[in-house]
């Protein structure tokens, strides 16, 4: 079935078709499911209502991440909605024999951070989660996508989902990142250009020498943000970097099985003569640090730029949308982006909370102080990341600079726990969405890279991190 001319996506798809349903639709087999507390209670409830059991409990891992407290000194109040939701996940997992990782366990963290850490995420597998940033796992050459709660229920009971085959788009990133520029900047620049619908209907494969040079963590940031360009699936072909990351992880194959698996994984990359429905090429060496100024991730610009003027927009519907975004963000057209003062800084989320992200932020924070009046927090993506950062002394650097150092969770990426913005507060955030109210009702979010967020914490305004580097030099 996989002779010549096939894309990575086609190979992943073909290997999981249980039954073709015509019209590009098929019932796909799902190998892995990450279960979190927010999208699962109704799925478990539905299963119980139909008196069904899990088909394969060990194809699932459950953990609470969205609603957990990241402040050990202030756990969720006992009968808060958050605590009830976490409690429900524990009960449901126990009842159905689903492997469960608790809030205080060494393997705990955001689902999209721990899946790869545990080796649960593997090349060539299909992986779903009731969360749109499931695209993250495509960094391993896994067919991974977000689903709704009823689909979670369907996977519980059948390990299958009907899906329609996506068109394919290859995005080639060539060249080398300049100093001070992160993969987050590249992907924000991409979304600014192709828009929040640019990838709609496509499975995107990232290729090119810049992608080959990326670490697994960078590839995860890239695939994570793919959903913000409208594509549910972002893929990177597995290579030696992928295998080196996975080797020895608890759920990765061992011994002879490992060799067998790697041999199979090497057959997955798109064939040289594979055809894509659409293809784009970007030179990443020209990319500079980006920040968002609006209320969707495509509304971002180089930090050296200015808040755009709706009057200059010819299309009336776009003009209206732009004015509305600026009104919500309380920004005047023409303002220099680096004149925008901030109240809060959030470094975390499944986009940018891994060890390399924290190192990049610490490099900026080291020996400096968080600006007076700014409250800044660092939330590692997992307990493992936290432990690693502490072993490297990053927590000390952050604490000395005046950041608050937290434990793992989604935290202020989503206003579903105690970490949130107050109305009107403005935040420099490494998360993925700047929608109205995303970080708390009335809160204003500027998304950017970890180094850029750290720089904003230091100066109290949106800042080109390259200026701080010059200052230190």
């Amino acid at each position: 079935m996989t002779h010549g001319g096939q894309t990575l996506y086609a190979k992943l798809w073909d290997a999981h078709v249980v039954r073709e349903q015509g019209d590009g639709e098929a019932l796909l087999y799902i190998d892995r499911h990450l279960v979190q507390e927010v999208s699962s209670p109704q799925a478990f409830e539905g299963l119980d209502r139909r008196s069904l059991r899990f088909r394969r409990p060990s194809a699932h891992v459950a953990t609470p991440d969205h609603a957990v407290s990241t402040d050990v000194s202030a756990p969720n109040p006992r009968d808060s909605l958050m605590a009830l939701q976490v409690r429900r996940l524990i009960e449901n997992s126990r009842k159905h024999g689903v492997p469960f990782v608790g809030e205080t366990d060494a393997a705990h963290g955001i689902v999209h951070v721990i899946g790869p850490e545990l080796g649960f995420t593997l090349p060539g597998c299909t992986l779903v989660c009731g969360d749109s940033h499931t695209s993250t796992h495509g960094a391993f050459g896994a067919l991974a996508f977000g689903i709704g709660s009823s689909q979670c229920e369907t996977v519980f009971a059948t390990q299958c989902l009907p899906q329609s085959r996506q068109k394919t788009m290859r995005i080639n990133f060539n060249g080398r990142l300049s100093p001070g520029v992160a993969v987050k900047d590249v992907v924000l620049a991409l979304i600014a250009q192709i828009g929040t619908e640019g990838g709609r209907g496509y499975a995107v494969e990232y290729a090119g020498d810049a992608v080959r040079a990326m670490s697994m963590e960078q590839r995860m940031t890239l695939c994570n943000m793919t959903i913000e360009a409208g594509a549910r699936i972002g893929l990177v072909a597995p290579d030696e970097t992928t295998f080196a990351y996975l080797k020895g992880r608890p759920l990765a194959p061992q011994g002879e099985l490992w060799d067998q698996a790697v041999a199979y994984w090497r057959s997955l990359p798109s064939d040289n003569d594979a055809r894509f429905d659409s293809e784009l090429t970007f030179d990443v060496s020209a990319v500079v640090p980006h920040v968002s100024w609006g209320t969707n991730p495509s509304q971002c610009s180089p930090v050296t730029g200015r808040v755009p003027d709706p009057a200059a927009e010819a299309d009336p519907s776009k003009r209206g949308k732009l004015s509305q975004s600026l009104a919500y963000m309380d920004l005047e057209p023409g303002t220099s982006l680096d004149d925008i003062l901030i109240d809060r800084v959030f470094i975390g989320s499944c986009t940018n909370s891994r060890i390399e992200d924290l190192r990049a932020a610490a490099a900026v924070a080291e020996g400096r102080r968080v600006s007076a009046g700014v409250s800044a927090m660092i939330v590692p993506g997992s307990a493992q990341v936290q432990a690693q950062a502490e072993a490297e002394g990053l927590d000390r650097i952050f604490r000395e600079a005046g950041f608050s150092w937290r434990s793992a969770g989604c935290s202020m990426c989503v206003a579903m726990n105690a970490d949130r913005l107050s109305p009107g507060e403005r935040c420099a955030s490494t998360s993925n969405r700047n929608f109205e109210g995303r970080q708390g009702p009335g809160g204003r979010t500027h998304i950017m890279s970890p180094a850029m967020a750290a720089a904003a914490a230091i100066t109290g305004r949106l800042t080109d991190v390259r200026e701080l580097a010059e200052e230190a030099a």
């Binding site: 608790g102 366990d105 299958c160 709609r200």
Partner: protein, 212 residues
């Protein structure tokens, strides 16, 4: 899930672009554990504005929304669709939809109709003017009292699911359990490493039993 055949109702015009699932149901309501009662929180923020179309007295009880481009983008939360269903919405007409949202609609008995250009403008005007819509899924038509009804397209499999009221899970349980067993046997042979043994979880996760 309630089958969808025909629907007669007025329609609520919400033509703004990019109404995302967070606007439909803000994240903090995701902490509620059940599907029932979510309609109360539908469009929680937007609804505070008296001018918001959902508040129009002439549209009280309307079961159709005429949305704008990219209706339902953003977070995959199915709660957004449950809130719409719980509020009584049975059909959404828009130029385009968030993909996950679209699938969630089908699975919850809400008919999403993709309509662009002139037909869309006509429908939007009719919604604004509080005209009664008659939607027929078998005929794939929207009748707003004009010369000829507007026709719309929808995948046959999705249309059938809505007409039968059989959701995805029912359908798979009914049609596919043998296919699944066969697939699994093959995969266990070809890619045995995908089959994690329960014992591999022991070092870091708990399975069943007491974990208080």
């Amino acid at each position: 899930m309630i089958p969808f055949h025909t629907l007669t109702s007025r329609a609520i015009p919400l033509p703004a672009a990019d109404i995302d699932t967070d606007a439909i149901l803000p994240a903090r309501f995701l902490l509620l554990l059940s599907r029932e009662g979510l309609g109360e929180h539908l469009f929680h923020e937007l609804r505070r504005n008296a001018q918001f179309a959902l508040n129009r007295p002439d549209l009280a009880g309307a079961q159709i929304i005429v949305g704008g481009p990219r209706f339902g983008i953003g977070s995959s939360r199915e709660q957004a669709v449950w809130a719409l269903a719980d509020y009584g919405i049975r059909c959404i007409i828009a130029p385009s939809f968030g993909e996950i949202f679209y699938a969630n609609c089908i699975n919850n008995g809400i008919l999403p109709i993709t309509l662009e250009g002139e037909p869309y403008e006509g429908v939007l005007d009719a919604a604004d003017a509080s005209v009664e819509f008659h939607i027929d899924l078998t005929a794939q038509t929207i009748d707003i009292g004009k010369r000829s009804p507007i026709t719309f397209g929808i995948d046959a499999s999705r249309r059938d699911a809505l007409l039968s009221g059989r959701d995805t899970l029912d359908t798979i349980l009914h049609d596919d359990m043998e296919h699944i067993a066969r697939f699994e046997a093959q995969q266990q042979d070809a890619e045995p490493w995908l089959w994690i043994d329960e014992t591999q979880f022991a070092p870091f996760a708990s399975i069943g039993g007491d974990n208080d």
